[in-house]
């Protein structure tokens, strides 16, 4: 049993940087996909959806990856503090932006592909 545990520990020591680097790359990819969504979606509310969901998800994945990469306990605690703070503030900031836009009576684009010539800016078809 103890032999099995030491084997697990050795595997973990070897695979931890690779797992952390892979999770970091996945988080960066999620952030890039969210940025493409923010650039390409036709409406403010759909852009807000893309930005807030992928920001929270990419922050989660990247911070787990950086925690696996961290060399010391102080760096781990700092990354964990950043993660907790982003998890508290990013959804509440998105809610504040959505609430402000809704209060200012910003209309969402409704109907199939939006109604043409109204409230849709040019996005090249």
């Amino acid at each position: 049993m103890s032999e099995f545990l030491s084997t697990i520990s050795e595997y973990w020591t070897v695979f931890r940087p690779w797992l952390g680097a892979a999770l970091s790359m996945l988080g960066g990819f999620l952030a890039l996909v969210g940025a493409i969504g923010v650039l390409r979606f036709p409406d403010f509310y759909t852009r807000l959806h893309a930005a807030s969901v992928t920001d929270t998800g990419a922050a989660l994945v990247l911070i787990v990856g950086m925690c696996l990469l961290s060399p010391s306990g102080l760096v781990f605690v700092k990354i964990l503090a950043i993660g907790i703070f982003l998890f508290l503030t990013a959804p509440s900031a998105a809610h504040a932006i959505a609430n402000a836009a809704h209060t200012a009576k910003l209309e969402p684009v409704t109907g199939r592909f939006g109604s043409p010539g109204e409230n849709v800016e040019e996005h090249g078809g």
Binding site: A21, M25, G28, L39, A51, F85, A104
Partner: protein, 98 residues
């Protein structure tokens, strides 16, 4: 692989900056600036590991704090046109004292 993460985050920041410069409404710009701030925080952390010197995390914590407060302050200013309005709701029927 960490270099790929840095590259993806830089590309995402550039794309969101295009949206921040060309956003048709105010709220698109606020959203884009907030998203750029989140991505810069993540980029600072990843860049510390990429350069094998994770000393930038204090700056990342500070930037996360400033980003949230700045977003709320900009939204409050463009709703009330002043920073000096208290955000306490006075009675239940009147939403925000307007």
């Amino acid at each position: 692989m960490i270099g790929a993460s840095v590259l993806f985050l830089c590309l995402g920041t550039a794309l969101i900056l295009i949206r921040a410069l060309s956003g048709p409404t105010l709220y698109d710009r606020v959203l884009a600036v907030n998203s750029v701030g989140t991505k810069i925080v993540l980029l600072l952390g990843v860049l510390g590991f990429f350069m094998e010197r994770p000393d930038f995390l204090d700056i990342a914590i500070l930037y996360a704090l400033i980003n949230f407060v700045a977003t709320i302050a900009v939204l409050k200013f463009f709703r009330y046109r002043s920073f000096q309005v208290t955000l306490v709701r006075r009675d239940a029927g009147d939403a925000g004292g307007r």
